[in-house]
């Protein structure tokens, strides 16, 4: 498949789903055909605010069909070719319902040429493709000359610029007796020169290029042609304006427009400008091109680019007003509320959009391995679990039982050095359902939810000397909490076959029947 400006015809179609704009497809229920010469046929179907694009053998049932060649189609979609010119010159034709076809224009965001590296060939083609437009006749009035570029290597070729009567034309191939001929051995070297990464004199002195004929003219090339600028992926003012109004309805904030019945007209002058009116009624917003009768408020903006700057946060509306570059006609108070009525415009992320400030987030996992000593008390408790025993320590002063055991009775401030075996059965005092499990901080793994965490009063313990563990998941719903008066559900531990001295030597507790 051929590429034009590095873009294939199918790239345009394949990106349609991600460029689809719901606002533009409102109320559309139709199929549209695309017949691209030598490339194939595609069918776009829009229904209920959704779309489907498919390559089709025939385009039966389409309300309209666009017919174009690949280069024109890609050119119009990428902004390289003026759509209106292409249409009036007949390079693009529409068969069927023409007005229906017009709707497709609003249905998609602009196709942005991916940031793929341009090849040497792409650059060479772009350089010569733009050469005529870079001709600066006033720098060389009445020049009558032909300049041949004979470029070797991959991506190379021969082009001749013919300058006569203050006009420049480009022709592929040689001419007879050119005024000057530049012989460049490798196309990539010439690209480097044109991009400013290298200079022509180095090429000449290294024998990588030669000038045949009028050397003085070759030295003036920088004046004859404006500097080559490689293509930039950029939204034009017009693109921004279209995108802003294309997204306006979607950015409407009905909660801030309760009871509002108003129309807001944006009358935007200058290149890329136009007139749009947002109509707000019954908590809904619709957009219409052009004026309405007696708009509640009208914003008159002299230059579209100024408005783009305001919307991108690079400028503010009050500066425009005070500089006389914009005016508010009608209800000024409503104009002041626009920031509430519509969410802030966000340029498409795909174009980089130059957001005001992008804050970085540093994602790190902090992990330092630890070796926790268990000591003589916790160690003794964990060790006993290997033998399916739950041991607690008892305060010699108050008789309180601690499980898991700790070095002291914190209440009496004495060593709790009397050991007693408790449980392993007991009664549930508290149970909770956990629906959102705390993940393992390093692996991110979570346990299955919901699960039940229980506090159990093991046999031999009293008061609130309870012990925490998990309950069998399928029994959660039939567990009853107890208290000092009423017994809770009786439970017993389910031990693991392999026990290592860990809290999970007990898998969980289950109802003891």
């Amino acid at each position: 498949m051929a590429e034009y400006w590095g873009v294939k015809v199918e790239d345009i179609f394949n990106t349609m789903p991600e460029r689809f704009r719901l606002d533009g497809a409102k109320g559309v229920d139709a199929s549209f055909g695309y017949d691209i010469k030598d490339e194939g046929k595609w069918k776009l179907t829009v229904k209920n605010g959704a779309m489907k694009i498919e390559k089709a053998a025939d385009l039966a049932g389409c309300v309209s069909i666009m017919v174009a060649d690949g280069e024109t189609f890609v050119g119009v979609n990428t902004g390289k070719v003026d759509g209106v010119n292409a249409f009036t010159s007949g390079k693009v034709k529409v068969e069927g319902d023409f007005s229906a076809f017009g709707k497709t224009a609003k249905m998609f965001k602009k196709f942005v040429i991916g940031k793929k590296e341009m090849s040497t060939k792409d650059y060479i083609l772009d350089m010569f493709g733009t050469l005529v437009s870079r001709f600066q006749p006033k720098n060389v009035p009445d020049l009558n000359a032909s300049i041949t570029y004979q470029i070797g290597g991959e991506g190379g070729g021969v082009w001749t610029a013919i300058i006569k009567d203050n006009k420049c034309t480009l022709k592929e191939g040689h001419v007879e007796k050119p005024t000057v001929k530049l012989e460049i051995n490798e196309a990539k070297d010439w690209v480097d020169v044109m991009l400013g990464k290298s200079d022509p004199f180095s090429l000449l002195s290294a024998g990588k290029a030669a000038i045949v004929g009028e050397t003085a003219l070759a030295m003036k090339l920088g004046e004859i042609f404006a500097k080559y600028q490689p293509p930039k992926i950029e939204f034009t003012t017009k693109d921004f304006i279209l995108d802003m109004f294309g997204t306006l309805v979607g950015r409407f904030q009905p909660q801030n427009a309760e009871g509002l019945d108003a129309s807001i007209t944006y009358q935007i002058g200058g290149e890329g400008g136009g007139v749009w009116t947002a109509i707000i009624k019954d908590g809904k917003c619709s957009l219409k091109e052009g004026h309405v009768d007696k708009a509640t408020v009208k914003l008159e903006i002299n230059e579209a680019k100024d408005w783009v700057d305001v919307m991108l946060g690079k400028s503010d509306p009050f500066s425009l007003l005070s500089a006389g570059k914009a005016a508010i006609v009608g209800e000024t108070a409503l104009a002041m509320k626009l920031g509430e009525l519509f969410a802030k415009y966000q340029p498409p992320a795909s174009i980089g959009g130059e957001p005001e400030q992008e804050l970085l987030v540093l994602k790190k996992t902090i992990a330092v391995k630890q070796r926790f000593a268990t000591g003589p008390v916790m160690g003794k408790f964990l060790n006993a679990m290997k033998d399916k025993k739950l041991i607690a320590n008892k305060c010699p002063s108050c008789g309180r039982i601690q499980i898991p055991p700790r070095e002291v009775c914190a209440e009496c401030r004495v060593s709790a050095d009397e050991w007693v075996e408790v449980g392993p059965k007991g009664q549930v005092r508290y149970m909770e359902y956990v629906y959102y499990a705390s993940p393992d901080p390093l692996t991110g793994e979570t346990r299955e939810t919901p699960y039940g965490m229980v506090n159990i009063l093991l046999d031999g313990c009293k008061g609130h000397d309870t012990f925490a563990h998990l309950i069998r998941r399928d029994q959660m719903d039939i567990i009853k909490n107890g208290n000092n008066e009423i017994a809770g559900t009786r439970v017993r531990p389910v031990w693991n076959d392999k026990r290592v001295g860990s809290v999970f030597d007990i898998k969980h507790f289950e109802i003891d029947e």
Binding site: L362, F372, G375, R406, V408, A410
Partner: protein
């Protein structure tokens, strides 16, 4: 001079390289019981301990709000418990403030750190730095201190041989301290051939991984006799924190230490530390800091650390009779260890390492990269 605050009793466990058989609760409990036994203090809400200050570090304990792991073994339940998450010497300043304000009469002050628990002390130290800039550059206290060490040694004529001397002396003094970490005997050659961690800091120039805990009982002047007949007084305290980012600091200026010392001297009425103070305990995380801090405290001439060592400055001013931080105390706790040695010296209980006739002693603590934070406590013998 205004009111004084007494240290009534101190307790500690032996500094160990790896207390694998104990959790820090066990370490603290031993100190707690010792303090209770020595003083007979109670937790009576009128007459006893109403507030416990603890010192520990979240990262070293691998526990958010590290104090919650041991409030029980330090008797803190059902009363005030406040944590000092900085150098332990600041806890003395804080305890002093609690008592001088009149809010508390009696403060129990406990601290612990178990450096052996983490697989990499350096990774813990790396976490002291900001995550965006310094941490990714791999900064830790050792390699940042090395930057200061290199510049300082050049400025003050301190050579590798001087550092070896500092290490050997630290080891020799520690031998006489029953609570000091027991380190392998080393020769000058061993130190000079010790592997470079970050030039000019060699492995033996840096304090070894250590586990330790301590306890102290402090009280107001009026009630001291209830707890001891032999108190030691805190008569001066000053602390100072320098900028966090190294780029904001002059690493050679000793600015922070001079600032802290000046405030402590002033509060204690010390005019000439060289003459008035009999024992200096310096928090030397690394050997180069011994002469550098000596300069900052005014017992060595500015820019003459090398000569000071050559001229026997360490002996003349009785510096680090305990063996110092260099012999091994955990991070955070160096200042408390210094104060405890001063307590023993002033109480004439320092055994073999006792300096005769000590009336005033200076305990120093430092924390952070290249001595960012500094604090000085002046202690005096009982009336």
């Amino acid at each position: 001079m205004g009111k004084r605050v007494a240290i009534c009793a101190v307790a500690q466990i032996k500094n160990e390289g790896d207390l694998w058989y104990a959790r820090f609760q066990n370490m603290l409990k031993e100190c707690f019981e010792s303090i209770m036994g020595q003083t007979g203090v109670t937790f009576d809400m009128e007459k006893g301990i109403r507030n416990v200050i603890t010192c520990s570090d979240d990262v070293f304990d691998a526990r958010t709000i590290s104090d919650n792991g041991m409030t029980d073994v330090v008797g803190a339940h059902f009363r005030g418990e406040e944590k000092m998450a900085q150098e332990s010497i600041n806890g003395l300043g804080y305890a002093m403030a609690c008592i001088l304000s009149g809010h508390d009469d009696v403060i129990l002050y406990m601290g612990h750190c178990k450096e052996s628990q983490t697989e990499s002390r350096r990774m813990n130290m790396n976490l002291a730095f900001d995550p965006f800039y310094c941490r990714p550059l791999g900064m830790d206290f050792i390699n940042v201190n090395a930057m200061q060490a290199r510049a300082y040694m050049k400025k003050s004529g301190v050579r590798d041989e001087h550092l070896a001397k500092v290490v050997l002396r630290s080891r020799a003094n520690a031998k006489k301290n029953p609570f000091a970490r027991e380190n392998a005997a080393v020769s000058e050659k061993d130190v000079l051939n010790s592997p470079m961690l970050a030039d000019p800091i060699r492995e033996l120039h840096y304090y070894p991984v250590t586990d330790w805990a301590y306890g102290m009982l402090l009280c107001c002047e009026e009630r001291v006799k209830e707890f001891t007949d032999n108190p030691v007084w805190i008569s001066g305290y000053g602390s100072s924190i320098d900028s966090y980012f190294l780029g904001d600091r002059d690493l050679l200026s000793n600015f922070s230490l001079k600032n802290a010392a000046e405030r402590a001297y002033k509060m204690a009425g010390v005019k000439d530390p060289k003459k008035e103070i009999g024992v200096f305990e310096l928090c030397d995380h690394s050997a180069y800091q011994m002469p550098m801090w000596a300069e900052g405290l005014g017992i060595a001439d500015e820019g003459a650390g090398g000569k000071w060592i050559d001229g026997g400055g360490m002996e003349k001013f009785n510096v680090n009779t305990s063996g110092g931080m260099l012999n091994g105390n955990p991070l955070l706790l160096g200042g408390a260890a210094r104060a405890i040695e001063c307590f023993h010296q002033l109480s004439a209980e320092a055994g073999e390492r006792q300096v005769k006739g000590v009336k005033k002693a200076l305990a120093h603590g430092t924390y952070g990269a290249a001595g960012q934070h500094q604090a000085v406590v002046i202690m005096e013998k009982g009336r």
